[in-house]
Subunit: 541 residues, 2 copies
Amino acid sequence: MPNIYEQHLDRNPANYAPLSPIPLLERAASVFPDHPSVVHGARRYTWSETWVRARRLGSALAQRGIGKGDTVAAMLPNIPEMFECHFGIPMTGGVFNALNTRLDAATIAFILNHGEAKILITDREYAPTVESALEQIGRSITVIDVDDPEYGGDGKLLGETTYEALIAGGDPGYEGREPDDEWDAISLNYTSGTTGNPKGVVYSHRGAYIGAIGNPMTWSMPQHPVYLWTLPMFHCNGWTFPWALPAVAGTSVCLRNVGAAAIYAAIAEEGVTHFCGAPVVLNLVVNAEEDERRPLGRTVEIMTAAAPPPPAVLERIEAMGFRVTHVYGLTEVYGPATVCAWHPEWDALEPLERARIKSRQGVRLPVEEGLMVADPETMAPVPMDGQTMGEVFLRGNLVMKGYLKNAAATDEAFRGGWFHSGDLGVWHPDGYIELRDRSKDIIISGGENISTIEVEGVIFGHPKVLEAAVVARPDEKWGETPCAFVTLKPGESATEAEIIGYCRDNLAHFKAPRTVVFTDLPKTSTGKVQKFKLRDRATDL
Amino acid sequence: MPNIYEQHLDRNPANYAPLSPIPLLERAASVFPDHPSVVHGARRYTWSETWVRARRLGSALAQRGIGKGDTVAAMLPNIPEMFECHFGIPMTGGVFNALNTRLDAATIAFILNHGEAKILITDREYAPTVESALEQIGRSITVIDVDDPEYGGDGKLLGETTYEALIAGGDPGYEGREPDDEWDAISLNYTSGTTGNPKGVVYSHRGAYIGAIGNPMTWSMPQHPVYLWTLPMFHCNGWTFPWALPAVAGTSVCLRNVGAAAIYAAIAEEGVTHFCGAPVVLNLVVNAEEDERRPLGRTVEIMTAAAPPPPAVLERIEAMGFRVTHVYGLTEVYGPATVCAWHPEWDALEPLERARIKSRQGVRLPVEEGLMVADPETMAPVPMDGQTMGEVFLRGNLVMKGYLKNAAATDEAFRGGWFHSGDLGVWHPDGYIELRDRSKDIIISGGENISTIEVEGVIFGHPKVLEAAVVARPDEKWGETPCAFVTLKPGESATEAEIIGYCRDNLAHFKAPRTVVFTDLPKTSTGKVQKFKLRDRATDL
């Protein structure tokens, strides 16, 4: 028999709404209609304008048949259109697939087909890659060109119409459709594919909402921040910040190209208060030339992740007037899932000691329900001794729905009721985690994941190559770069430049090795390459 | 056929957890074990201690048979035990019914029986009322006494054991039970029942969580606030702040008795940064004696609601270094549901104009999905003209599950898919609402509606006035006329003609009171003026 609280106290339209970030934009537009929403050079939008543009986009897509469960892909830099896609696409019931703009044509083609994109919105800058990808997909797809007036470079229009023409035909009063269920998909983000093809990570409206509400709280982000887009929005939907910013009525400052001078200029001229970025962005800021720098005018908050920031860089950047919040996450957990939550008493420590503490990945976000470091096989938590290595596991509402059309990978990722991050780390006595090794073959270069298996696969294709193994080599500017160890076929000879050039012809350029060593490969008795030995050699080069 | 996003992408233990505030306490304890959680005079607890005490409480209650859907009531002031109940009771699956400590014995007895409380936790201070209530309920109930060492007054122990003895028998490692569903009840809060018996408002784990995450964001509350308990925790579960504070690792400063000297002392000695309270608390602060005041040392944030704060009071308190955020809500919407969201450009206005703008109830919280002012019958929104009166309607995730064991009242409250607040107001052209009255408080004089709040706002501007309340007085000619009850500041004197003349200088003449009574104002436990008592007096004049 139901208890007294289970009788006539059900969900109904008055007391229950599916969690979704879309109503946050509607609210920002109705409460702060004239405040700046998105700023991009001479292009400046208010919240009411962004809301109207998103609604027009949604309406125009719906007119073209986009509805529940339909994928719309976008190959865009951090510009207003990219921000608008985060709302206009899911407003239709569709799913937003933001593409990594640095990928090669073959990978883009794979993703467009795997995700079954019906429409592609693409920026002129990426026309060569996109044109080639479109030739490879073997089916017709509606292409919409973004012709950004702030872009002065090359690149032809590929599609049937432009973004501005598209939305001009959309209804500014379009109501959109509420998700049938907050678990419905809102976006699709492909991982770099450490083993084989990239996997499509699916986010829900619920998870996007919880990230949007939770991240400002974690970061003590007040109302009306000015947020600079140094982090690509195609990375985990910009760590959910496109959805978070309307919740705090914050202004997005766009940057097509991230450079030190542009960052300092935005801080000085737009009053930037917050930005996110990989340690490579911290490096840019720290190593800026004298004539690129500008006074900050205020403490500027930086949220950083992707690779552990070196303590020396943390120390230097905080001395300059920035305050760094260190988070850790993956595409599968909506970006940040842990944070090095700061203890006020740590402020009194020596700068380098503070930086050492801050370089740890920390504890679960308040809106993530579980974190542990555990044995990868038995899933028994390791002791909190700061020494015993284990795999990092996460669980809770900031974990993906799963991998699209990949039941096996989804089941494997969720085995035992936890998300298996593949990252290795230790658990300190205070409960803070610290990564000791990314999963053993991934390289993180300038914030981008590079699969060593993918690079090795290309090198293996070179006619003179017998064997190859690729590992990360530490790099001051990029964090890490790929370093290839190559065994040539007997009697063959080759140069470093020849191998690198071959890779650049067959891979996204950032994935090509920066260093090539011709050598025999150390192996285990069962024939597996001992990458840990190669990593040591790469570090010593 | 399911779309590609509906295949093998289901909820599972890795990617879905029922939303609940309980894990927020677990996190605060694991991340900030040694930081102060709750401070009460000489009693000072850390997060790890509060977590252990809450677990012991949950365990001890479970040992006594409390489980899913069982009600545990508490008659407590704002002390550590009250804070712990917010976690220890729902951790068992039970439902927390916090009692208004100023109610009479008959009403307490009604609530204990209507809510079917199995256990009552009660403070010695309320022994006379509780003893009488227990005699009236006609059934046996387990009574646990809180014997607070910070309480020096009278009051006997009524129960079988004390709170400290109870929790001493609880397991500090008690795991509790996760709600089966986030919609499960977490608490039960009775309305004051101005018409007939009080109604039991039921909150869910989901709603409590969303309030806990949403309120700090709305208030720009950073990590580690120091929060003073001037608002009774029995009022809408302290507007969800007992659940919010662990999310931001904030410290609760308890107050058994709220007075001006105690508030200023807490600000000076405990470093209070935030507190909530009805306008009566603002009045206390503004009108404190010289020897009660202490320097603030920082901007102190006040969130106020319950009755519209008069612009004159707002102006004075902000000049003293407090910053007021004005919210509006009801028990049925977890406390605050709207906020007078501040526009930065309003800072440049004259103080009284700023205060006038701030006295509006504003816009929906980011975590509430719908707000409108509409015709109470047709539910058609009224024009946004700042003049047309309508009823305030709310909908979304910050709306109660319903009224316990009262299907008729629940259905009526949710008729048409919106929660009917019963409050009347106007909708300004900028989308901000402003309350004009409870529907029962409105004065209709010669066919014209008169907002008592508007008249009170004018009277508050008179330099000799401390407090004022305006009600309808029956009138043969006009139907009703406004009757003002006024409390003057200490040492002041004024005439009826002086007050009426002042109103006529600042209001449409028909809105000016016809009668002025100089007196103290009767108030509820939460500081609301009891207008029904004043109406009776006005009728008898």
